[in-house]
Symmetry: C2
Subunit: 184 residues, 2 copies
DNA sequence: TTGCAATTGATAATATTTTCACAATTACTC
DNA sequence: GAGTAATTGTGAAAATATTATCAATTGCAA
């Protein structure tokens, strides 16, 4: 069933989700209101939301709480709670300390690097492990999301290894294109 | 003329550009080779490239150098050399030091913040100015690209101000959606 | 309670984007 | 020099995605 949603709709769902969360309210919202806020067609919004299990009430709109849950369920976000950072350089470092992820209900569990100086230390309270141990940690904690902050030259290799460990989503901050199966 | 390129093509052009640059060679490349590397249809690649001024040679392909220039010209990248970072917190800080931008031929000129402790200092050799001075600096140096690394709560206001100063592109690292005119 | 206006959900029409098919060109091999 | 295979560029067809339209529902106000 997820296969016949337009990919463009799938790309828009996280946008709705993000917007709805900023509303921070308990009430109802109509497709028209979402459309105006995001500058889109209101029918398009309804179509997109219809792919999730969300149901609107005539003359009222969608329950904000239910809508958020429906989108999260559909996107499978609920499974993605813990993430790891790969590459504890400048950028990885900053992301570890950066508070921005809390908005996405993502918790950074650990970082990996292969610099012996960094391994074993903690950054922002999170342990830094040897990348060679990544498989153990990732499999044991069933981590599905990795944030890639490594140099371009090793990005593909790192991505391949992560996928091999069972990672399903990769947020790529390296300045190269990564090839992966469609499911990732 | 730029108006009747499919928006999806426009989104793909930077992908091609990035891939072509990783090749780091002087020769020729065919649309088929690009398509295979990026896992796309080869006709699609040709159609996309046709929107730029790039011309391929039958039985040879596109000159890598010319193709890169053509895409850059088309995207107007050549004008975007200098960028500023807005928000010198953890993330802005890291990006200032991060080497990844060199792949995009972007040079970070300065950072802005409104924390008096940071203003006047240098981070990674780049000056940190008061955000109130942003207009002066941006207009004087005709900066068109800004990287937004501020908390969600002030992101929209900062973006509005930047646009008012003449910034044409904003790379948004803040965890919210920013509204802006289509041209930005 | 009646009428009105807002809103969803669905179907049909339109627009956009991608793929197919193929002619034209040209490097390369024999 | 002739034949072959690779490659571009393009017009037509197919597939996708968006917008328009409208019936059905229902909260709200008089």
């Amino acid at each position: 069933m997820k296969s016949d949603i337009p990919v463009t709709s799938l790309q828009r769902l996280p946008v709705y989700l993000n917007y709805l969360k900023t509303l921070n309210s308990d009430g109802y919202i109509s497709s028209g209101a979402i459309a105006r806020a995001l500058d889109m067609g209101e029918v398009l919004v309804r179509k997109d939301l219809a792919y999730t299990s969300a149901q609107g009430r005539t003359r009222v709109g969608y329950s904000l709480k239910e809508l958020i849950s429906a989108i999260e369920d559909y996107l499978g976000c609920n499974d993605v709670k813990e993430a790891v950072i790969v590459g504890a350089g400048e950028l990885g470092n900053a992301l570890l300390s950066y508070g921005g992820f809390v908005n996405y209900v993502i918790e950074l569990a650990a970082a990996f690097d292969n610099d012996p100086v960094k391994i074993g230390k903690e950054i922002a309270g999170k342990p830094v492990y040897d990348f060679a141990e990544a498989e153990n940690v990732i499999k044991k904690r069933r981590i599905k999301l990795a944030v890639l902050c490594v140099p371009a030259s090793v990005a593909q290799a790192a991505a391949d290894k992560l996928i091999g460990c069972g990672v399903e989503r990769i947020l790529n901050f390296a300045p190269v294109l990564i090839k992966a199966a469609d499911s990732v």
